[in-house]
Symmetry: C2
Subunit: 409 residues, 2 copies
């Protein structure tokens, strides 16, 4: 029997999806499972996108240009230029989700063995994409104590070698929700220019900034045009994860020309999605206002409930729809699995993503979990009630609970 | 300025699309261009698929399971089991086009530096996909004289080394249209079992077999379950290239488990496409009968016209919708570009794909072109009139034309 490749063996399973069999089993047993494990929002897709699908009128479902239709790229550039990116349609290559923008950027810019520095915890699939291209991820720890702010530039400098080719930031951050400031990005700019590094900017959560905070992109920084590659997607922006429609944006001509060759090999992004994506750009501001209000409310529900639990700490993030919280537990992987396999409260339980999958450093994040606040406030409150009970009941609890103390009196 | 990767430099541009700027220019100059260069059929997508899109009724355009929805995989397995593949939904991973099925299969089975043997001329993007994974393509020449039949097994044996991990066949073949026989596949089976090789079977054109010929898949061969990976797509089957919906099928459990990890990293195939794909399986036989009748007619128009031209040779293929023809010219790349840049007849010209892009051996196919018969009979006839004139007029003609002789009298 022929063998699997080494890459195939080393490829990590998704930390977000690996507990799915346990969740499926819990559901078969009749438990209600609150899914806080995955960034699949329950927010409705804008009606304009759905209308565009229903009204679509073509006889042949044809390939488009490999870089995406001119018409969609024109519309997209309007969207980005409103944000001040100052681009043309020629700066955009439409991709199959943000995922493909990341893999194409990696293949375009990094050789096998080259290194990319990523503040951790980070979006787990960067590990998988790096593995696909035999690229080495050099993690740099950020800390829950300061809300996972950008690590010190001196810490980046320590990691830079001859092999370092790029830095990835995800802003606002998945999984931490941290929103990088202009000052932090300016620091990164200096570092990238000094060491001639690419700055990959994953901006999937751009539209989700709370409490009046402002989003800043490396595209806004002067003198960094040759270094910046934005990796974007409509998945979260318009709650259209299943559309698999993203893009890569850069002003670096050599990158564009090379990325196009990778795009040509896979022929074309989805045709119908580009029609819907074009309509999406006309989504009224009121949609985003309502969505951001809802997410702010949910974040507050979650963060307040978590910080009231004994021994739990959760920073209050400025963007995206995730939090990473620290629990008084021995092992987040064990705890999350136990919650699905053994725990229930009123026949309900919660599925979360152990944070270990978002760290590349061995052992880091072993008492942290990521939660996506993609459920309505009521479900979130129920989920938090379950979680609080579970943390008290769990045998691997590391801090004695007052409740346990009271009960044992 | 940061550098492009070596892989990015080495990545081949699409031979099918590289002449596009010249075609665009010809159109700007007011010329009508007959596109025989790309396998984008003009055949209408089945109404059932389009209806499924228009009737789709969801509020959140959500991710699906990474391996595809169970419901689509169930329906797909019905389709494959009618063909005698004897599979379950668990043998299928839904992919973003056939392209992704190929890249996932390569990453799953081959290490960097490993070798894959492919009869040439072959689908040009195999080169690109191999480049992406640092896999070495070992081409094995097939010959226009016998219609591009499977090369002798002894020729395969000569190429096999410690590094050889797989053979790719595309059946019916793109670009040659050759339909492999059961006997040829049995030969390949023995070879794969003897040397413990994967057999990647690209079956994008399965439904297009002419003159009553029967399609045979390696899935039909006994004892080869651990070796066969089918790479499929709805692109050509239902004239739905822009749907980007394909799948990978295998009975090898280790391959399935590993391929799923790559599928998980990119989260999900398109959601709406899977709804349309499910409807597509109910496409009536009458659709395929009409389409095959039309393609048979077109092939006959093309092959007859080509073989009547002085110095031209074109085999009569048993499947797909391509032919590779030999022209009396010095250089197919030059000729195809010249036809767009300089030639016109009644203000019309033809865009074709130089066959060199489908060969990996340097210099091979330099007087051959690939043509896709994806236009209606009338357009094809006009295209053939243009081509005949062009071949007479072209300065790099290698065989003196009787017409030229007559004119010079």
């Amino acid at each position: 029997m022929p063998k699997i490749s080494l890459k195939g063996e080393q490829m990590p399973a998704s930390p977000i999806r690996k507990l799915t069999p346990f969740a499926d089993k819990a559901k078969l047993e009749g438990k209600k499972v609150y899914h806080l494990n995955i960034g699949q929002p329950d927010i409705e897709t804008p009606q304009g996108m759905l209308d565009a699908i229903h009204k679509s009128n073509f006889k042949v479902w044809a390939y488009t240009a490999s870089e995406g239709t001119l018409s969609y790229r024109q519309k997209l550039s309007e969207y980005y230029n409103k944000l001040g990116y100052n681009i043309t349609p020629q700066n955009i290559i439409v991709t199959t989700g943000g995922s493909e923008a990341i893999t194409i950027a990696m293949m375009t810019c990094l050789n096998p063995g080259d290194e990319v520095i990523i503040p951790e915890p980070f979006y787990a699939n960067y590990n998988g994409f790096a593995c696909q291209s035999d690229i080495v991820v050099k993690p740099i720890l950020s800390y829950i104590e300061n809300g996972f702010a950008l690590p010190a530039i001196a810490d980046f400098e320590k990691l830079i070698t001859e092999k370092t080719k790029a830095i990835i930031i995800c802003n606002p951050n998945n999984p931490t929700g941290y929103l990088y400031s202009k000052e932090e990005l300016e620091e990164l700019k200096k570092l990238c220019l000094k060491h001639d590094l690419y700055l990959f900017s994953d901006e999937a959560y751009r539209e989700f900034c709370y409490d009046g905070r402002e989003f800043v992109s490396p595209m806004h920084l002067e003198g960094l045009d040759e270094n910046v590659i934005v990796m974007d997607t409509v998945s979260k922006r318009y709650s259209a994860c299943g559309a698999r429609l993203g893009c890569l944006i850069t002003k670096n001509e050599a990158v564009l020309k090379t990325a196009l060759k990778f795009a040509q090999a896979r022929l074309s992004p989805g045709m119908l999605e580009q029609i819907a994506g074009e309509a999406a750009v006309d989504t009224p501001d009121s949609y985003f206002e309502a969505v951001n209000k809802e997410y702010t409310y949910r974040r507050d529900v979650l963060v307040n409930a978590l910080n009231k639990m004994e021994g739990v700490y959760c920073p209050n993030p400025g963007g995206a729809f995730y939090v990473v919280a620290r629990f008084p537990i021995d092992n987040a992987d064990k705890f999350c699995q136990w919650m699905l396999e053994e725990f229930s409260h009123d026949n309900q339980t919660v599925m979360m993503a152990p944070a270990t999958g978002f760290y590349s450093t061995n052992g880091a994040g072993s008492n942290e979990v990521r939660m996506a606040y993609v459920l309505n406030g009521n479900d979130l409150q129920n989920a938090m009630i379950c979680l609080e009970k579970a943390l008290v009941e769990y045998s691997g609890r590391t801090v004695e609970s007052d409740k346990l103390k009271v009960e044992s009196l």
